[in-house]
Symmetry: none
Subunit: 148 residues, 2 copies
């Protein structure tokens, strides 16, 4: 487990820096590419894909598939705590990434492994849905619609 995948290059640094500086939002390859070009440090699209792929494998970045036409979204994962032991909730509305520390989720993983023979990978698994803050206004709006 040495620097198996780490060659210190300008491109790698640029990508990594961009991801860490935008850890609060999910970004597409296109976004990254455009940004780096504007910064005067352009990186080839293929290179971005290749790095992102590795980062996902390493669990440093998460990949989301929202829509075919939009393309994949990526988001840096802060390696602060043991991220491999908990799951993540992703709000489809505001894009917020929530850390879920929940024994129930772990039990689910155990259950699925025991009963369904499937070993869940918490690093890549993300629960999509609507967060509390986004749900509140949405519910209010729906009431109006219902009565309209």
């Amino acid at each position: 487990m040495s620097g198996t995948s780490g060659y210190k290059t300008r491109q790698r640094e640029s990508i990594l820096r961009y991801m860490t500086e935008h850890k609060d939002s999910h970004v597409t390859v296109n976004t990254i590419s455009d940004y780096l070009s504007q910064q005067g440090t352009p990186v080839g699209t293929a290179t971005i894909y290749r790095h992102l792929e590795k980062l996902v494998e390493q669990g440093m970045v998460r990949k989301y598939m929202v829509d075919a036409s939009t393309g994949a979204c990526f988001q840096f994962v802060t390696p602060d705590r043991q991220c491999h032991e908990h799951y993540h909730l992703k709000c489809e509305r505001c894009g917020k990434l929530i850390h879920l520390e929940c024994h129930f989720a772990k039990e689910l993983a155990n259950h699925i492994y025991a009963e369904h023979g499937f070993a869940i990978d918490p690093l890549r698994t993300v629960f999509y849905g609507i967060c509390q803050e986004c749900a509140a206004p949405a519910a209010a709006a729906e009431e109006e619609t219902t009565h309209g």
Copy 2:
């Protein structure tokens, strides 16, 4: 809400019949196309896409985006089954998409909603991991590696 979009054609019937007969599984456009061709009632890809799009708009069919390379998955929605949601397991190794009908998963959703205020969307949520079939040979291979 009259027959705004209903012209009774052979193609439409074929697609609809296929979807209702496979309501228990998720299917791709490719799957549908192949099947219909084999049945001697081929339907153009574009037509399948167009019908599926309408069906999704009407809420009769659900669309899942799991992976960019896999393409979209569709599933017919039975009215009385709408609350009978299920989840998906995606094997990272063989790419297989597994249908998970598990009460435990539903309980997890309830729990997360009640305790964490987050409404999970089963439509978008996919559990990534390794399936049973892929895990077996992988474990064997790892033993060799470990001893090597």
